[in-house]
């Protein structure tokens, strides 16, 4: 498999951090994620697939490139060569990190995917009780 890669020209727009934070997991559409308008060369560790809808098996937190962040499944895509990178800061699970590292020549879909590696135990429930009177 090979990809021809070129410098990303994805439009980038700011988002309201407070609004995003207040809503928890973002529900957004379009090519939106907070970025600094600068670029960093990043080596993508690995990805698999044979053709369209090839997705990275892992993405890097670009601020911590040594921290490989797994991307969860399932994925969904609408078109070819849709790549995205969504991850969590491993040490800051509350901080959703999104990298608009998708590229391609056609439709570029940004998925509102959140990956919480702590999902299994992030959900709590309040106390409760049962009783009997005999």
């Amino acid at each position: 498999m090979s990809y021809s890669c070129s410098r990303i020209t994805t439009p980038m727009y700011p988002v309201d951090l407070d609004e995003r934070a207040a809503s928890g997991v973002p529900a957004f559409s379009g090519l939106v994620w907070v970025v600094e308008n600068e670029h960093a060369e990043t080596e993508v560790p690995s990805f698999s697939g044979t053709h369209e809808q090839t997705l990275f098996q892992g993405v890097y937190d670009l601020e911590k490139p040594e921290a490989l962040v797994a991307v969860p499944s399932p994925f969904s895509g609408t078109h070819v060569k849709t790549l995205f990178a969504v991850g969590y800061d491993l040490e800051k699970p509350e901080a959703l990190v999104a990298a608009p590292s998708f590229f391609g020549t056609h439709v570029q879909t940004l998925f509102p995917i959140s990956y919480n590696r702590e999902t299994a135990h992030a959900t709590t429930s309040p106390p409760s009780f049962t009783g009997s009177l005999v």
């Binding site: 990809y3 890669c5 070129s6 990303i8 994805t10 951090l17 407070d18 995003r20 934070a21 207040a22 928890g24 994620w33 907070v34 970025v35 600094e36 600068e38 670029h39 960093a40 060369e41 990043t42 080596e43 993508v44 937190d61 670009l62 601020e63 911590k64 040594e66 921290a67 990178a85 800061d89 491993l90 040490e91 800051k92 699970p93 509350e94 901080a95 959703l96 990190v97 999104a98 990298a99 608009p100 590292s101 590229f103 590696r117 702590e118 299994a120 135990h121 992030a122 959900t123 709590t124 429930s125 309040p126 106390p127 409760s128 009780f129 049962t130 009783g131 009997s132 009177l133 005999v134």
Partner: protein
């Protein structure tokens, strides 16, 4: 293969109030060093760490903050971690202070201070764990040490330097009222399950292990003739002390269970039982009963109560 991608920024939620409703635990550590001449330096500023799955589970059965371990591993932590990657040193001696935050978001805390004697030779330290095992195993938490920018880093623990790790464990209780409708022997009782002693430093500090009914120190689950109080308090009225039994912890459940039993001779209030209070070590709570529960001297009341499910605090 290299690609060009925009540099991202971490979108960090700085509005701590968003962490409610609670039921979660969290931990923070910082590392300072002191040289023989008395000079001190901060080797790692206060930073949050990761609570492991094993740590969450362990909390249901025993102490989780018995010791602190240092290592030189650089593998990013995961919730499945049970040990340091490369163990260097451990300190079992610890001093403890406890307390509670008195405003929302409330949390009870326990601060542990682990003092490591000078190692005799310079050591590189890049990971840290707190737990209950020997040799950097059985970890409640594991973390890479980070610099001020939040990037993993390696610190040098000097040969003649005394190292102090201060670890703070937190438990965030539920803050909201939760209505209930509970059928007890054919009668439906409505009411509110509400936190108790919210912000109480003596009652709701972070306790080393989670258990339910037998209480924390002098505080023990109680039945009341009146109704529940404010979330910072407890119910009112005439009291009765039921028999309190902790149930066996079910591994992986992340919930503590217990049984309160009031035999025929107690809690036969003229107006019935209007509320009860559960002195759970994770977070105390109280509950109202409407209508009041009319218990007679021929009755035995059994309440099967639980702590709620705990998890990691986001």
């Amino acid at each position: 293969m290299n690609i060009w991608v925009p540099k991202i920024k971490i979108l960090e939620n700085t509005r701590e109030a968003l962490v409610v409703p609670g039921g979660g635990v969290a931990g923070f550590f910082e590392i300072t060093g002191q040289l023989p001449d008395g000079r001190r330096r901060v080797l790692a500023q206060r930073q949050k760490n990761l609570i492991t799955d094993g740590g969450l589970n362990r909390w249901g059965t025993g102490a989780v903050l018995t010791n602190c371990s240092l290592g030189s591993g650089t593998t990013p932590p995961t919730v499945l971690d049970t040990n340091l990657v490369s163990f260097v040193a451990q300190q079992n001696s610890v001093t403890t202070t406890t307390g509670a935050e008195t405003s929302s978001p409330y949390y009870g805390w326990s601060r542990k201070s682990y003092v490591f004697n000078p190692p005799g030779a310079d050591k590189n330290i890049s990971e840290i764990g707190v737990g209950w095992g020997t040799g950097g195993v059985n970890l409640w938490s594991r973390s890479l040490i980070k610099d001020v920018a939040g990037d993993p880093t390696t610190i040098t623990w000097r040969a003649d330097e005394t190292l102090t790790v201060t670890y703070e464990a937190r438990m965030y209780p539920w803050e909201d009222d939760n209505p209930h409708s509970t059928v007890i022997s054919g009668v439906t009782y409505d009411g509110i399950i509400r936190p108790a002693y919210l912000g109480g430093a003596a009652q709701n500090y972070f306790y080393d292990s989670a258990h339910l009914a037998t209480g924390k120190g002098p505080y023990a689950s109680t039945l009341y003739s009146g109704t529940i109080g404010a979330a910072t308090g407890i119910p009112s009225g005439t009291t009765a002390s039921p028999t309190r039994t902790n149930s066996a912890y079910s591994s992986g459940s992340l919930v503590a269970n217990g049984v309160l039993t009031a035999g025929p001779t107690i809690a036969n209030f003229a107006g019935g039982i209007g509320a009860f209070w559960v002195a759970c070590t994770t977070a105390m709570w109280q509950c109202s009963l409407v209508p009041t529960l009319a218990k007679l001297n021929t009755h035995t009341l059994t309440l099967n109560v639980n702590s709620g499910v705990w998890g990691r605090q986001p």
